[in-house]
């Protein structure tokens, strides 16, 4: 009971510090709980989506005529396969909706009865209730009629589409327009991160369209327009991961080699939740950093509190309080504040989690669950409590050294150390020199705030470097995503198209810096289904960072992910297969691409020609389907576009961009990526500044208590309250400046590694950072100014200190 009385008194006397800790804990809990909640609810929702859709572990698409009886028999005969479900398909191309177009083809299927259909507000399904996993029959009004289509929810944001909008696609020469009936949850490729999509029309219309398309197939070059989608259900014997099973199955049946596209459950889960996982990793890292800062401040507070309470500790001991009881008092004080912070954080995380989940929902297309994270919450509480308790226990050890007599007679060493390293006091800049003296005469007091500020500024510098990095031309090129001012592609396979003609037009207006002509296909490398980038000019805008680019037709470059996955490296020979043709290649370099999160290889036109049925027929640059040119004069774009349009009309789609518009919504990458990256940056900035503010207020409050007597003296000497406040402000500005310098040094050494770690999640572990001085100077200046303001603000109590406090009545 006596301890509770003391704790109550401590809290009453140190309200600011108590609330500060509460707020810090709440921030840590809300950020961590939110991201854990988003992640767990996404995982659960994804799991439910696959269960409800009930289409096994593997989506495969075979072009017309490739899924033969033999293939079917091989698949069904494999002991890794339980069953297969086959659905006829037609491929829609040249998609246009709400003024936007998509170069990817969509797999058009007859509507499944296992697909959950979103209600109007997209907060639930019309045929799946609550958390149920049993799909109900689709109500009559939601069934598709001729001319209507259901799109996966991931497409909604791509086209800014809503029910009733029109979407058109081309089916081997015939363009058809559909009315969007609504949106469905499609687990395999419903996310807007994946290019290919399955869309659904009424069974009657599908049958009619399929017949018509198949009727128009005349040659091999038309077989893209139709095919079979085969869903594979793995058997109990497939006890490895889905990816390993798929590799084994491919070696046994050639399913991945012959299929035009594959999407396995594991990869779909990975791509769909990629942003969530990355942001979770970043926010969790940030949460851990905040917790470290929390501990540093707690340590600082406990030690200064013991300094301030030194006499009281002696009095308590003289009254019979044991070391244990006093230490328990400190522990209770912090744990009570932490507990309230945890409670506030947990309550606040519920709406924040919902908002965040909703934001990610537009990307994933999977309706998030909204389960409460009770177990996680309790676990987090337990960890926070345990670490804090342990930490306080360590920090309060020196209470044992306090004896009643020593304390009461004020036998403690003076707060201040020797004056050996003291800064001089000068009339010019008196307040600054006094502020500096406060730091140099008691540096230990400022170690914790310097440490905390260093960490915070380091975070902001890293965030600034990241922001600059993702906008840097060289950086984009190094990640395999070079910025091309001119982008074009032939519309349809019938176009008489020559890249050389377009290059000639470009050269009339500007010089070419580099060309990125490529096609993306899927092949298997040593049995592993992988993206292959076939490049027209591999040595231009290259992202090879180890070894060299491809020179000969038997060479490939691979990414670090592929190297790790397959245990191969430069100099190794691998087998690359496409369909029933395979060839051996030598790995000559390691490169980067963010496509397929780095799971990719690259080869030249000649290299790919070796995988064609007729190897004498060369694959040429005009047969590729993505063309980008990086030019010297970005203003030349509109004129080039005009002339290309003049020559090719609508047969060639051409878009020109300016580098300065890189992060605009009509820029080459859309605005989402930059919005997400900037959003994370702003979040880090906001949290950092809240932390900085709370830290300064808390440290200032402690300093204020410690220096109250000195403040009264200086006031008695005639110093104005505003001057003393200015002295506080300058002191904190100085701390920010010193911390900033240290943070710059750390940033120069560690930011690169930290960013490489983050970007490895996107598939680009090797990054080239440009150390722009502004990325260092701006955060340091901003922090210095803010600390000055925070210091000035939190020293407002100086006004209340009166020289009268020095009076001994």
């Amino acid at each position: 009971m006596e301890i509770f009385t003391l704790v109550k008194a401590e809290i009453r006397n140190r309200k600011g510090i108590f609330f500060g800790f509460m707020l810090l804990t709440a921030l840590i809990v809300v950020s961590t709980m939110t991201m854990l909640g988003v992640n767990k609810n996404y995982d659960d929702a994804m799991d439910r989506a696959f269960k409800v859709e009930d289409k096994g572990e593997l989506f495969t698409y075979f072009r017309y005529g490739v899924y033969t009886n033999e293939m079917r028999a091989r698949l069904k005969g494999s002991e890794l396969v339980d069953k297969v479900e086959e659905y006829p398909e037609i491929t829609g191309a040249n998609i246009k909706c709400n003024g936007k177009s998509d170069g990817n083809g969509y797999y058009v299927l007859a509507m499944f009865d296992t697909l959950p259909v979103y209600n109007e507000s997209a907060d639930g399904f019309v045929n799946l209730k609550g958390n149920s996993e049993t799909i109900e029959p689709l109500p009559q009004e939601n069934r598709l009629k001729k001319g209507e289509i259901y799109l996966p929810y991931g497409l909604k944001s791509n086209y800014n589409a809503k029910p009733g909008d029109k979407i058109s696609m081309e089916f081997l020469g015939e363009t058809r327009e559909f009315t969007i009936k609504g949106f469905v949850q499609e687990a395999f490729m419903g996310t807007n991160i994946m290019g290919y999509k399955t869309v659904f029309i009424s069974p009657e219309e599908f049958t009619e369209l399929r017949e018509a398309v198949v009727g128009r197939i005349e040659s091999d070059s038309d077989i893209w327009s139709s095919g079979e989608v085969v869903y594979v259900f793995f058997s109990d014997k497939a006890d490895d991961s889905v990816l390993v099973t798929l590799r084994k199955l491919n070696l046994e049946t050639k399913v991945a080699d012959l299929a035009w596209a594959n999407a396995d459950r594991e990869s779909s889960e990975h791509y769909t939740g990629m942003f969530i996982k990355i942001i979770l990793a970043v926010v969790t890292g940030f949460g851990v950093l905040l917790f470290i800062i929390f501990l540093i401040i707690a340590g600082h507070n406990i030690s200064t509190e013991m300094d301030i309470d030194y006499v009281n500790l002696g009095i308590l001991k003289s009254q019979g309080f044991t070391d244990k009881m006093i230490r328990r008092m400190y522990m209770l004080e912090y744990l009570v504040s932490e507990m309230i912070g945890i409670l506030i954080g947990m309550i606040a995380s519920v709406p924040v989690e919902r908002i965040m989940s909703r934001l990610f929902f537009s990307m994933t297309g999977i309706l998030p669950m909204h389960n409460m994270m009770i177990v996680y919450g309790l676990l987090l509480c337990a960890i926070l409590f345990f670490v804090t308790a342990l930490y306080i226990r360590i920090f309060t050890r020196r209470i044992a050294k306090v004896t009643p007599v020593k304390a009461i007679t004020n036998g403690k060493d003076d707060f201040y150390f020797s004056n050996r390293c003291n800064a001089p006091i000068t009339k010019r800049g008196l307040m600054f020199s006094l502020g500096l003296r406060q730091i140099t005469s008691a540096p230990k007091r400022y170690i914790s705030i310097t440490l905390v500020t260093t960490l915070l500024i380091f975070m902001v510098i890293t965030s600034q470097l990241m922001s600059g990095f993702i906008r840097s031309k060289d950086a984009l090129a190094s990640m395999g995503e070079p910025f091309c001012e001119i982008n074009f592609a032939p519309v349809g396979s019938e176009v008489d198209f020559h890249v050389k003609d377009i290059e000639d037009i470009v050269l009339k207006y500007t010089k070419i810096r580099g060309r990125m002509y490529k096609t993306h296909l899927y092949v298997s490398i040593n049995g592993e289904n992988t993206l292959v980038q076939i490049k027209g000019y591999p040595d231009e805008l290259s992202s090879v960072y180890r070894g060299r680019e491809i020179k000969y037709d038997n060479e490939i470059v691979i990414t670090e992910q592929i190297a790790k996955l397959l245990g191969i490296d430069m100099g190794d020979t691998v087998t690359v297969a496409r369909g029933d043709i395979s060839a051996e290649y030598v790995v000559v370099g390691i490169y980067q691409t963010m496509n397929d999160v780095g799971k990719a290889i690259s080869m030249s036109l000649d290299g790919f020609s070796r995988l064609r049925k007729d190897t004498t027929e060369k694959y040429t640059v005009d047969m590729l389907n993505m063309y980008g040119i990086s030019v010297e004069d970005e203003d030349a774009g509109p004129k080039i576009k005009e002339e290309v349009k003049e020559k090719y009309g609508d047969d060639v789609a051409i878009e020109t961009y300016k580098y300065s518009d890189i992060d605009k919504s009509d820029g080459p990458n859309g605005s989402e990526f930059y919005t997400a990256a900037d959003g994370s940056g702003y979040l880090i900035y906001a949290l950092t500044f809240i932390f900085a503010l709370v830290t300064v207020i808390m440290i200032c409050a402690k300093t204020f208590i410690q220096e109250r007597r000195d403040i009264a003296i200086t006031k008695a000497m005639g110093m104005k309250a505003s001057s003393i406040r200015l002295q506080f402000a300058l002191r904190f500005a100085l701390i920010a400046l010193i911390s900033g310098l240290i943070a710059c040094g750390i940033g120069r050494c560690l930011s690169h590694r930290l960013l490489a770690l983050i970007f490895s999640l996107f598939g680009a572990p090797h990054i080239v950072l440009t150390y722009n001085p502004a990325a260092f100077i701006v955060p340091v200046l901003v922090f210095t100014v803010c600390y000055m303001l925070f210091g000035y603000m939190s020293a407002r109590k100086v006004k209340r200190v009166s020289p009268r406090e020095l009076i001994m009545e």
Binding site: D414, F415, Y416, S418, N419, N422, I425, T426, K427, R428, L430, L434, R437, Q438, S441, A442, R709, D710, A712, I713, T714, K715, A716, M717, G718, M719, K720, A721, S722, K799, S802, P803, R804, L806, I807, M808, E809
Partner: protein, 266 residues
Amino acid sequence: MKKTILSAKNVQKTFSDNGVQVHVLSNVNAEIYAGDFTVIMGASGSGKSTLLYALSGMDKATAGEVLFYGEEDAPVDLTTLKETKLAALRVRDFGFVFQQMHLVSNLTLFENVAVTGYLDKRKSASETRAKAEELLDRVGLKEVKTHLPARVSGGEQQRCAIVRAVINSPTLLFADEPTGALNRNNTKEVLNLLTELNDGGQSIVMVTHDIKAALRANRLLYLEDGNIVGELELTKYGETDAGGEKIQSDKAREAQVNAWLESLDW
């Protein structure tokens, strides 16, 4: 005719403690004259320190006026003065010596003095430094001027505090029991210093309950229950006649003061 530099008119000071009003000063009227060494005496709890703080503007009176006759044409009332004006007054016109010295603990003795000097815009930094050096030298602190307060004796600290209080040549020096925390030797050193300053023309108002300290004054005020109930004029301490003899011997002064205090039930 003595020149008044500070005048207290009907000064009252009331504290409120849990709703109970405690009247510490009730209608105090007093004049402080230029060049005087005025001592305020009284029993413990009589309100002498409270009066000193009211007179020096360290604390505001609840009612009444405290008029300071400085360089301005009209006197300024400390009870209505704004904080910034009071701060300026503390820099230029008032010096204050506390019982517990109250030196800034992380500044050396020299810096404690110099910082106060720097606040005075009338002097340059080099003038301030020179004066601080000179004053510290004069009070025997030359050897320890670079020491922090915690590393010197109480007497040295108090001498430094007095130097700090006079660095800007204030009109009036206030001292609150400046020898209260000192041993006999240090007490003597400090009193000698105050006397020396007064001899140089420095007006001083000091609160003490030590008769030895009070003997240094030429004017004594006695406070009882928040009212001035007695006043005694003495010759200047150590004042000599034309022949160099003390006008009033120490013993005679002591007897006079004791008799006066006895008459006041001290």
